[in-house]
Symmetry: D2
Subunit: 339 residues, 4 copies
């Protein structure tokens, strides 16, 4: 297979996520370099650009994408800016790794989907990085062997130490459970058809008016039932666990029990304190996979369809949260490009 | 505290459960003997009576309860026979250990409750034996320390190798989830106010027309959300697990990981194959606790109120199963006797 | 099988261990009662006797053993008093449960062995209670299936929170590792032929001059190598673990992981703080087994030969500790009574 | 810190290990390229060179090291060829990553050590890759916090599915336990002063005349006692575990329990089948660390002193294996270069 040389990447957005991707491309990823960084804050763009040899700072994404040494785009700007950046990349025919969410709602995701269809080939990989986590990959491999039979249920736990003070109840759905939505669809190969959100009386440790924790139930078009505990002020650590229950057995990941100590009357170990610790490898693998595929002129991984479908499930989740009861998910027909 | 001598027990019902209790009283329990056994099948009653010194066989519960050497009654007959046996025991003022269910429905349980109120003191301990399991007891002790804060959610797994061929879908609620109903009420000290049953597409290993597995969600009057996976044809073993999620931490029981082997490419251990293996100690402890309390003229443990409340929750569960959606639980006011 | 009525037991020694056995016979064990208690301290004997109906206090073991209502003897006095009490019991032909050690050294154990041989049948069960622990029993069962092949190595961990201030280095061998000596012989069915003790630089938490921890290696006549970490001031808990390594796999017990919590940045659970917590069930099962066997006129369980062989291994261990290097174990020929 | 551009690496030896390092540099490592490959088998060298852009094949290491585009050397040839290759690299002043063993015996390792001393600065990183394993690194970090107190003992398990048919007993020491020798020295920061090898009766699954398993005990100059179970025909998997026992607690790694399944009467998971699966990340991290350090003109990681000290411990181990008993380790004085 023919392979391109070192990939020149334009990183759009140099906030926490973007700056971390710049570091990753420089220090971890093989076969890519940061050719351009873009930020509306020109000073910040310059500061980040200075960390990489031969990297130019821009304030306009279109200018960066027009540069001769830019072969691909990594979008890490705030969600509302994604749509415009994606459309510009499409005009230049550039492959894109777009951080999640694809866009902030289903309607805008659908516009991006239409635009990519007009291009006629896939250009976008969406940053659902759990698909690159070693444990989730093992779980999927096991399911694919068929040893356990058909999946019937999937139990998920998703816990953060503490939320930012300005978090609102719907963000537990849109920013956190969004990962389990993608995991459910990817792991089971099924679409989510309905969402029900139940709210226990909130924890005393949650900020005022935040409904935390929440218990979310998905139904799928393959007849599976999926539950998610989302608890963003659990206090004790960052924990992501999944147990899939199949016809002949179950499999569970996310215990994180690498080192066991005996100390002061207790056995056990430490719990990760944030997602960068838990998913560091997944981010590395996600980016390397994208670079490798792009250099081979391929686009694989989560698609614009995935970004759109998850946005629609989020909207149903927020409806259930706000109105109570079960909310159905409506999807447009799946275009052939994403078959 | 004054203590009676060896307790003479009449065991009503000599099927699998009753015969096992006769063995337990003879070989395991301290301070009690089997004075009488009762069964409509006179031959079976005689055969079981022959295993214990000085034990008389009866076909009529009333006759056994009138015998001079009978101090207490253990009811292990089929559920529909419980009400009559309980009322007879009340007439004789005899303390009773009654296997679950107290009675088959909420209306009959309410009649028993009224009868015990007329007696004016508690006579009945209901056989919810999970309250005597060492792991559940540890979990409850931990909750009572307050270290974890208030309970917000409780996740339960309840799995059997295979169901009898004649099991019907509502039996998953009435015979299996009934245990989690009692556990929820006892562990959290809250009443269940609503039940929602979701049914995944049934496992290919379930008998025709049996909705197995089911995913059951309780809401409680203390604002907790409780979920139960019930899967009676899981194929791989008998497993009962519970994780309580509190404001400052979680606690999980039921892993059953006493012995770990490395063999043939796998690490791990065996899974119990039925409830007698998993809960042998709980049955021993339940019976010994009842004998000790009875000899001290006390009645403790699960009450007729518990039996009634669980029957009412079961009825709501079956409504949800049959009609879909969320079913509310209606309870009469709690009498002072059970405060 | 003919079975005697309730067994009248004389408990010799009413210190911590003896008093606990009195409680156990009264409250836990089925088929036995405390008919007599014996202690050189008459007041203490009377106080303990008062706790059991129809129990007489003695200061002389011989007087108790001559009483008409005494059917069997439980010796829980200090080790140096065991030989005399055993010989007296032999004179009365009474079955004995003798707390470990059988006697304080191999020479005295050999005298007891000769005396029992003269009686011509086994009367003594030695109190090596680990053989009655559910986890050790599971391990032995697994070995007996042959699934794992022949045992090659056995790794043991034996940890106490803290030793009494007056502990001496040889007590780690004689009072603690003595259990692993019996476990090794029982689990593998092999005799220990040599002992090597290695002493790391002592922990700062050990009392002055106490060599703690120690690392002890056994060689057996079946070609197995066994290691024991003994650490009596580990500070964090009481832990007894064993992993047997066989030709086709390994098996490990003693993790004690019944309940798992997530709290304050850590997952895990509590560690038992002493042996009564870890081995409560083993003591109960040991005593019940002895009562059941005695009522059936049988003597099973650890024998005087086991008590003698372990005493000889202890002596080799202390030689290795004091002189360095490897010490061989010399045993007399095994009498047919103990084949 | 000034940093060189992309590092041109000459890989000496294109067998299994060498070819894998070529792949790693090409696909995984950031900041390096394969500029040259060397093998006495010219065809094999050419075939491997063809996989990397701008890579030249050589049969003579000296020629490769003289090439203008070679900045550093990775030695992966058979052990007996290491000394000559190292000395050549020293002549060219090239930094080297040398696969373990540094050289086949202590005498030759000492010659390399003297040669590097004459160069006057460190050039060599020895390939003890366990120091780069995430779990060992976590264990070392924990020890360095001092929370657990001083290390007293270290228990190790090292198991392979099956050995090659031509393995000889001393290879268990020289090729396998060699890793625990390095781990002991690195983790505890102490030198090994004596080795004792005990041999259980060999497993029936070991090739004829192979003493497998072996149980190896180290004593250190810091007063620690270390034991290693080495079992190269355990049949069930590749397992490397370590538990360090300190004054206030213990810590254990190597369980490998990422995914837990329930299936067919058993809970548990799979065991890795070889070292490439268990230590894939460690190899990646080792190489990246070497590339990063080299580009920053630094030499860190295991030194020639480490290679020499381990060779001397191996020799003591083989003496104990062949002659029985305890063998002392003699080291030359540690040169200041390796302080």
């Amino acid at each position: 297979m023919a392979q391109r040389g070192t990939l020149g990447v334009a990183v759009v957005g140099t906030g926490k996520m973007g700056a971390d991707h710049v570091r990753r491309i420089q220090e971890v990823t093989s076969g890519a370099r940061v050719a351009a960084v873009v930020d509306v804050d020109a000073e910040r763009a310059k500061a980040v650009a200075a960390r990489a040899d031969g990297c130019t700072a821009y304030t306009d994404p279109a200018a960066a994408m027009a540069a001769a040494d830019v072969d691909a785009v990594l979008i890490a700007s705030p969600g509302p800016a994604h749509e415009a950046a994606l459309l510009t990349a499409f005009e230049h025919g550039l492959p894109v790794l777009c951080e999640k969410p694809l866009t902030p709602d289903a309607a805008s995701a659908l516009r991006v989907l239409e635009a990519e269809r007009k291009v006629g080939r896939r250009l976008v990989q969406v940053g659902f990085m759990r698909r690159y986590d070693a444990e989730y990959l093992r779980l999927k491999s096991l399911l694919e062997t068929g040893q356990l039979g058909r999946p019937l249920m999937l139990h998920n736990r998703h816990r953060n130490v503490a939320s930012a003070p300005d978090w609102r109840s719907e963000m537990l759905i849109n920013d956190s459970v969004v990962h389990e939505m993608d995991v459910t669809r990817w792991l089971l190969g099924q679409e989510i058809t309905a969402v029900t959100v139940l709210c226990p009386r909130p924890s005393a440790n949650a900020p005022d008016a935040l409904r935390d924790p929440q218990f979310v139930v998905f139904e799928t078009d393959g007849g599976a039932v999926v539950d998610v505990e989302i608890f963003v002020n659990c206090g004790f650590g960052y924990q992501v666990q999944a147990e899939v229950v199949c016809e002949r057995g179950t499999a569970r990941i996310g215990e994180g029990h690498a080192m066991v100590t005996n100390m002061a009357g207790r056995w056990g170990g430490t719990i990760a304190q944030d997602f960068t610790e838990r998913f560091a490898d997944a981010y590395d693998r996600e980016l390397q996979t994208w670079v490798d595929a792009t250099r081979a002129d391929e686009v694989i991984g989560p698609s614009v369809w995935d970004g759109y479908a998850v946005a629609a499930v989020c909207e149903a989740g927020v409806r259930s949260l706000e109105e109570g009861g079960r909310a159905e998910v409506e999807l447009v027909e799946r275009p052939g490009l994403y078959a």
